[in-house]
């Protein structure tokens, strides 16, 4: 099969454009924190207790129920801004609008946030174009070597992130999310760039499309979960210091981010999405290994680390529903899992010789 060099170069250009757009998006998101105007439509966290109290007072007529409402007010103080507004609206005999109506829409977001999002969307379009043109250039799925894999993983991560902010609207996470993506893509283009080429015979199987696609999707999603875990840990620390009356820095930044509870929930849902994909990816890999090497599991270093990663994320999922382990400890476990994932991707591929040594970096 002949490599289409023109398309290959086109892909490189698309990805350069992607990098520039993402970088500009990072600047825009940062600018929002630095000097974005806060539109009055945005509910500030400080306003929540008042809203709830108002709702509870309105409901105060029935004696026993008032106690319940007071209790819920205390709970609500720690709940999310968005749902709190809905609830208080309902509590005060509101119209019972669907929950989505009260979410801060894109129109409520600041100019800089909208700019950042627009640049991200343009960037991801160029990103997809880069991945697709690389695939067309080599006549196969474009994740056959390390460079292609990282480009595809970051593409999945950005797409998943966009899905997350369309669904839940945590627009301002864009900064924390895109900054590492820019660094990863930049490194991919400079340090580990591999020209488009045919596959080695070991990879020449339709299982490449199945196994590596699942792993790519799962890895991209895990990247999102890891970013959420890091932001959660900072936000949680901030919230604890505030609760303890300790001095805090960057209070303005955290006020604009989702609450720790919400971040934790995002992270959990993200892992819940990624974990079955990862499981499927390992299984598909086992079937392929059986096809290629004559055993479905052989403790090859890459297999071992995929297993370790699976076990650690399984720990995270179990920890999350076990008293005493949820919260910060679960977040740390998740990050350990991500560390294992990274070690498998980089450490094992580059430093340990195994059957999966396809990085194309020898």
């Amino acid at each position: 099969m002949v490599i289409n060099q023109g398309l290959s170069h086109l892909s490189d250009h698309f990805l350069m454009v992607t990098l520039v757009l993402y970088f500009l998006a990072v600047l825009a998101f940062a600018a929002d924190f630095a000097f974005g105007k806060r539109s009055p439509a945005e509910p500030a966290e400080a306003a929540v207790p008042e809203l709830v109290t108002a709702g509870a007072a309105g409901a105060g007529a029935a004696g026993a129920a008032a106690g319940a409402a007071q209790a819920s007010a205390a709970d609500l103080a720690s709940a999310t801004v968005a749902s709190a507004t809905v609830d208080s609206a309902k509590a005060s005999g509101g119209t019972g609008r669907p929950a989505t109506a009260s979410r801060p829409g894109l129109r409520d977001a600041s100019f800089w946030v909208r700019t950042g999002l627009g640049l991200t969307v343009l960037g991801v379009i160029a990103h997809i174009a880069g991945v697709v043109s690389r695939g067309l250039a080599v006549h196969r799925v474009p994740w056959g070597d390390m460079y292609e894999f990282i480009i595809a993983v970051t593409c999945v991560a950005v797409l998943f992130f966009l899905g997350l902010i369309i669904r839940y609207r945590p627009f301002r996470l864009g900064l924390f999310f895109l900054a590492p993506i820019v660094i990863i893509i930049g490194l991919a283009q400079t340090v580990i760039y591999t020209p488009a080429g045919p596959l080695v015979p070991a990879l020449n199987s339709y299982w490449l499309a199945i196994h590596v696609t699942a792993i790519t999707l799962a890895t991209g999603t895990y990247v999102v979960a890891a970013v959420l875990a890091v932001v959660y840990l900072f936000a949680d620390r901030h919230a604890r210091r505030v609760a303890a009356g300790l001095p805090v820095r960057n209070g303005e930044v955290f006020r604009l981010l989702p609450t720790p509870e919400r971040l934790d929930q995002f992270a959990y849902r993200t892992v819940v999405f990624a974990f079955p994909l990862w499981t499927f990816g390992i299984m598909a890999g086992a079937i392929w290994a059986d096809e290629a090497w004559g055993r479905y599991w052989g403790w090859d270093p890459t297999e071992t680390w995929a297993f370790i990663t699976w076990v650690v994320y399984a720990c995270f999922l179990h920890a999350r529903v076990t008293a005493g382990w949820r919260g910060r400890r679960a977040a740390y476990i998740q990050l350990v899992g991500f560390g294992c994932l990274l070690f498998n991707l980089l450490g094992v591929s580059l430093f340990i010789t195994g059957l999966h040594s396809y990085a194309g970096l020898s």
Binding site: S72, R269, W299, W305, A314, C315, H318, T322
Partner: protein
């Protein structure tokens, strides 16, 4: 099973709804470590205590972690089962450390007793947790949800509606909504309770049982399966018998008579490589053209064996796992007799140019035995005085040899590798180091004889595996995945509705909701939707509500 011994659910062992109303729905009660029984409990008490410890969630978590940590050395140190040569190399480079590592089974982590101890404990813990739960699930499969609590407003999610319809009609309307949503229903005097999402627990159990099944499948393969290797020079054949195999690793319950009696001939091996560009020399295809017959006396069939394209002979699979060159040597000894004329497989020492090394042993040569250590270069190029191979295909094949005479030491001492020469009893012959092209010879000094590099052939190495646990493992894997999806994306929840006449003559409808397992959150939204449907169904209005 105790409060501490559940796996990922909190609902299963929770008390019935009356008490649940007060308790928060999701959090596990802070896992109390069961107090160690005093000596008065006796052996049974201790056993029970130990079992509770073992099947507790915390122990399972710690065992899971241990399993992950225990796997790490298996990936960092060379493993006997994967690369025995690397283990030998480690012994050479770390003579002090290696014996200690070996004593701790660190060169064979995944077969080590301590590794087995961790996963067996984990699976025991799993079984101790899953089996009672499966029993309980089976019992609850047809059980009705508990009656609605007296005070529905104390549920984590609740809303109060008022409607002009009478209590019976309002209740009927809400029940219709729940029935349409496929809730399991229980009705009583002025209330209805409903539950949905039993499949979550089912999925959870399926997942954990499937893991146990996977362990069984692996054991099945370990007992009844076998693995073997055979290097086959093109133009030669072998039969699948223990003596004809280079390596044979039988399962514990496999005897040599269990081997499927097929024969395989390698007619031709072909490799092709990228010829230009930055990736020049990267292989693009390997084909081993085989003929095989499944049993003696059965007509032979042809098969094009490729990587990712194994041959299946009656459930035994044959894989192409390696290839290389086998230069053909013809040796005439000092007496003028042809004592050696065959291809000798050389092993590649680098992949880019397939420079290969091997040895030729001629034990029948007279007056002295002869030995040669050689290098085969498929595409030899002179790089400043030394030859090196720059391309893996045989464009300019050369062989370079060091010649020895003396005693090969093959009749005494430990058995030798065919790929190495024991030079203890040999003396090197002063032959000019001239690389040979096909057809060229070297005449050995002192009337020791003549060696001719007659040509070369290619060889393929085949892996032969039989694993009866494969299909069970696949089924277990698919079941685990299905269970995972069920348990992740279904939440178990209950809805309660009570309707009664209010002080102003209008009917009050209290709606309560409880998610029994909802780690991802989101029940509040579903509850709001359902309550809204109720309200519309009996044309009521909201008077108050809350979410937890």
């Amino acid at each position: 099973m105790t409060e501490t011994s559940r796996m990922t659910e909190t609902g299963a062992a929770q008390a019935e709804a009356g008490q649940q109303a007060a308790a928060p729905p999701e959090p596990t009660p802070p896992a109390p470590t069961p107090p160690a029984p005093s000596s008065a409990y006796g052996a049974l008490g201790w056993l029970r205590w130990g079992w509770r410890q073992l099947t507790s969630m915390r122990t399972a978590l710690i065992l899971l972690f241990l399993l992950a940590v225990a796997s790490v050395p298996g990936s960092l140190l060379p493993q006997q089962g994967i690369d025995p040569a690397a283990v030998q190399q480690y012994y050479v480079s770390h003579p002090g450390l290696a014996p200690w590592l070996a004593r701790l089974s660190l060169f064979n982590v995944f077969a080590a007793p301590w590794f087995a101890a961790i996963y067996l404990m984990l699976f025991l813990s799993l079984a101790g947790c899953v089996v009672p739960r499966a029993y309980r699930l089976a019992r609850s499969a047809r059980a009705l949800p508990p009656p609605a609590p007296r005070n529905v407003a104390r549920m984590p999610q609740s809303v109060r509606h008022q409607t002009g319809q009478d209590a019976t009609a309002a209740l009927a309307a809400a029940t219709a909504v729940l029935r349409r949503r496929k809730f399991r229903l229980r009705t009583g005097d002025g209330w209805v309770s409903a539950e949905k999402g039993y499949r979550r627990e089912l999925g959870n159990l399926l997942f954990h049982l499937a893991l146990l099944g996977l362990l069984g499948a692996i054991a099945l393969g370990g007992l009844f399966g076998y693995k073997a290797n055979r290097l086959l020079v093109s133009g030669t054949s072998f039969a699948n018998t223990v003596t004809a195999l280079d390596e044979f690793h039988p399962g514990r319950l496999v005897s040599p008579a269990d081997l499927q009696p097929f024969t395989i001939t390698l007619n031709k091996f072909a490799a092709s490589y990228v010829t230009s560009g930055q990736l020049r020399g990267q292989p693009s295809s390997f084909n081993a053209y085989l003929s095989y017959s499944a049993q003696p006396g059965v007509a032979s069939q042809r098969y094009d064996l490729r990587v990712n394209h194994p041959l299946n002979v009656d459930g035994v699979k044959v894989y192409l796992i390696g290839h290389g060159y086998a230069p053909v040597f013809k040796v005439t000894d000092g007496a003028g007799k042809v004592v050696f004329d065959q291809p000798v497989p050389f092993i590649a020492v680098n992949t880019s140019g397939l420079t290969s090394e091997g040895v030729v042993k001629v034990p029948d040569a007279k007056p002295d035995q002869l030995g040669f250590a050689g290098v085969f270069l498929p595409t030899a190029v002179d790089a400043g005085g030394t030859l090196e191979s720059v391309f893996p295909a045989p464009l300019n094949p050369r062989v370079s040899l060091i010649s020895y005479r003396g005693n090969l030491g093959m009749n005494s001492g430990p058995s030798q590798s065919v790929y190495s020469l024991n030079t203890a009893g040999l003396t090197e012959l002063p032959v000019a180091p001239r690389p040979l092209a096909p057809g060229q010879s070297i005449k050995l000094p002192g009337g020791a004889g003549t060696l001719t590099f007659a040509g070369y052939r290619q060889w393929a190495s085949l892996a032969i595996t039989y694993d009866p646990g494969q299909v069970p493992a696949l089924i277990a894997g698919l079941a685990a995945l299905a269970g995972l999806l069920l348990s992740f994306f279904i939440r178990r929840r209950r809805m309660f509705v009570r309707a009664y006449p209010g002080p102003d003559g209008r009917t009050v409808v209290d709606v309560g909701g409880l998610a029994r397992s909802d780690p991802a959150g989101g029940f509040d939204e579903e509850f709001a939707r359902l309550a809204e449907e109720f309200r519309v169904a009996y044309a009521g209005e909201t008077s108050e509500g809350k979410t937890d």
